[in-house]
């Protein structure tokens, strides 16, 4: 299960996001890290320092690309310029799989730069799946889509979020980047049992898992990625590993970022949930 056709048959272990405040530490100390996740858009530029940094990272580490603005769920067609730049980056990083979100965020060529939840309709599932297939065919790399955290639900929805996820990934025949923190956040915001969601995910399609922290407010939880992972999310992670087997896992920490060592330590807690024989081997 850990290596499957949705993650290029790679078994990557536990990684962390590559973030600017950690660059100096990484280049100076050269820490041992299973892999780094990069935000694709940060490196879809013409040149300069970002590409220099990326090339240095690629010399020493394995990298997986994670996008934030493909917007598979937007009704408008895929942005060809975006795809062309993304493909150039895929060739440069040799990412074994590529991820982006199951959401929308652009209308008529204008961008929200947000991850807006989908209306869970069959029309939306069909259109979204078609765009994922188009992107995969163009990019020639396996694609996995991430479930987002959400703060609103649409009246027009005809199914649950997890039913929608199933519809899309089956139709697109793509992988899933399973974000267990997002499942937790949405379950609290929309009053569902996160295990109902988790247990219905097609485990064989899980290419990668995200874990993260969040912030609780009086009326809702926001997916802020600025705290350690809380125990209920670790419990969901344990269940995900039980269902999908040991899977490439990534800790997201994007705001109020602590030291590299602290972030890495938090990520490595994921190894506690591996089967005993794999824990000893790692």
């Amino acid at each position: 299960m850990p290596a499957n056709r949705f993650n290029g048959f790679q078994d990557y272990g536990v990684g962390i996001g590559l973030r600017v405040p950690h660059y100096q530490h990484i280049f100076k100390k050269k820490p041992v890290v299973d892999w780094f996740e990069i935000i694709s858009e940060n490196f879809m530029v013409g040149g300069g320092r970002p590409m220099e940094v990326l090339d240095q990272i690629l010399e020493r580490y394995r990298v997986v690309q994670h996008g934030v603005s493909m917007y598979f769920g937007s009704a408008e067609p895929l942005n060809r310029e975006h795809l062309t730049r993304l493909k150039a980056l895929v060739k440069r990083t040799r990412t074994p799989w590529l991820t982006d979100h199951l959401c929308w965020g652009s209308v008529d060529g204008r961008y929200t730069h947000d991850l807006v939840p989908m209306p869970y309709t069959f029309e939306a599932a069909r259109k979204t799946a078609r765009k994922i297939r188009e992107a995969r065919d163009f990019l020639e790399v396996p694609i996995a889509v991430e479930n987002v955290s959400s703060y609103a639900e649409f009246h027009v929805s005809k199914m649950t979020e997890w039913e929608f996820l199933n519809e899309v990934v089956e139709d697109a025949d793509c992988g899933i980047l399973l974000d267990v923190n997002n499942i937790y956040v949405s379950s609290r915001n929309h009053d569902f049992d996160p295990y109902d969601y988790l247990n219905s995910v097609p485990a064989a399609r899980v290419a990668q898992i995200h874990i993260a922290g969040h912030t609780k407010y009086q009326k809702l939880i926001l997916d802020t990625h600025d705290h350690p992972v809380i125990d209920p999310v670790w419990a969901l992670y344990a269940r995900a590993i039980e269902l999908a087997g040991p899977t490439a896992t990534l800790l997201e920490w994007d705001d109020r970022i602590p030291s590299f060592d602290e972030v890495h330590r938090e990520a490595l807690k994921a190894k506690r949930y591996l089967p005993a024989q794999m824990r000893e081997a790692s």
Binding site: G48, S69, Y111, V116, H155
Partner: protein, 291 residues
């Protein structure tokens, strides 16, 4: 309601500027009730109304793009002060929403927009436009593309008909104010010397520049470019700037020289010497791409 209609309806609401107390407006510009739209689109729950749930996306939209815009234009912020800058930013981003998959390009149209909307920078129009253009050039030079370089070694086939290509990351700015000095002051960088690196990891939060300490108008011809992953500002002479501009417009070498030297009273020998010096210097700085 199909997918396209729903997304248009949500985006129309979420991109409306927030109220001064950072809540969602209750009416669209055409008078429609946002509460009615939210109720029609969004399910409420036992803690939040449809309006409140939609408001989260409205707030996230503005908080995100304003934070990015503010980070990109610390010089303009310092020039205008926080209150006027925020008003300007909201008006600009409302008129010119992002049309790029990356927030990097958010301010690309700011300079020309300010030219069309000087009321937002009243009293400091030209210095503000100069600053906006400089800060955008700085962003673009930082990670803009670089083509294979022309070096003095590949100069064997040059003739008067040669058309040079300037590097895409090279920006030529015709400034009415020395805003390069002002920007360095704001960033706390010593700008003595004609070429100054702009590589700073953390900028102090800029405070408002007093009107009395604004620079006096002075024409500055500035090149903003990248060399070895660092952005530099370099002041040019009028003639050198005009020559580069002509080359950048695609004029052949002989024509560009003719255009740029029109007002020169220098001797032919001096002009030849200057040209050799300039081209050697500019090629070393990597400003030319291979023709």
């Amino acid at each position: 309601m199909n997918l396209e209609q729903l997304q248009r309806a949500v985006f129309e609401v979420t991109r409306q500027p927030l109220t001064p107390s950072e809540t969602m407006r209750t009416r669209l510009p055409d008078g429609r009730s946002v509460r009615d739209i939210a109720n029609a689109l969004i399910k409420p729950n036992d803690r939040m109304t449809s309006f409140e749930r939609l408001q989260i996306y409205n707030q996230q939209y503005w908080f995100r793009i304003l934070a990015s815009f503010t980070e990109d234009f610390p010089g303009l912020l310092s020039l205008m002060g926080e209150r006027k800058f925020e008003k300007l930013a909201i008006a600009f981003l409302n008129d010119c929403p992002s049309e790029s998959f990356t927030l990097r390009n958010l301010g690309a149209r700011l300079g020309s927009w300010l030219g069309d909307h000087p009321e937002h920078v009243a009293g400091v129009e030209r210095v503000a436009i100069d600053m906006a253009n400089l800060e955008w050039a700085d962003i673009d030079a930082f990670d803009g593309p670089e083509l294979p370089r022309f070096t003095p070694d590949n100069s064997g086939n040059l003739s008067g008909d040669t058309v040079f290509r300037l590097q895409p990351h090279l920006h030529l700015l015709n400034l009415a104010y020395p805003v390069d000095d002002l920007l360095f002051r704001i960033r706390g960088i010593d700008s003595r010397g004609e070429t100054v690196s702009n590589a700073v990891l953390n900028f102090p939060r800029p405070s408002k520049i007093r009107r009395s300490s604004l620079p006096r108008p002075r024409k500055v011809h500035l090149a903003v470019y990248r060399l070895k992953d660092t952005v530099y500002f370099k002041r040019l002479t009028h003639d050198g700037f005009a020559l580069l501009q002509a080359l950048g417009q695609g004029k052949p070498l002989a024509k560009a020289i003719e255009v740029s030297m029109l007002r020169s009273r220098r001797s032919v020998d001096r002009v030849t010497e200057l040209l050799r010096e300039w081209f050697q210097n500019w090629a070393t700085l990597g400003w030319f791409a291979q023709p």
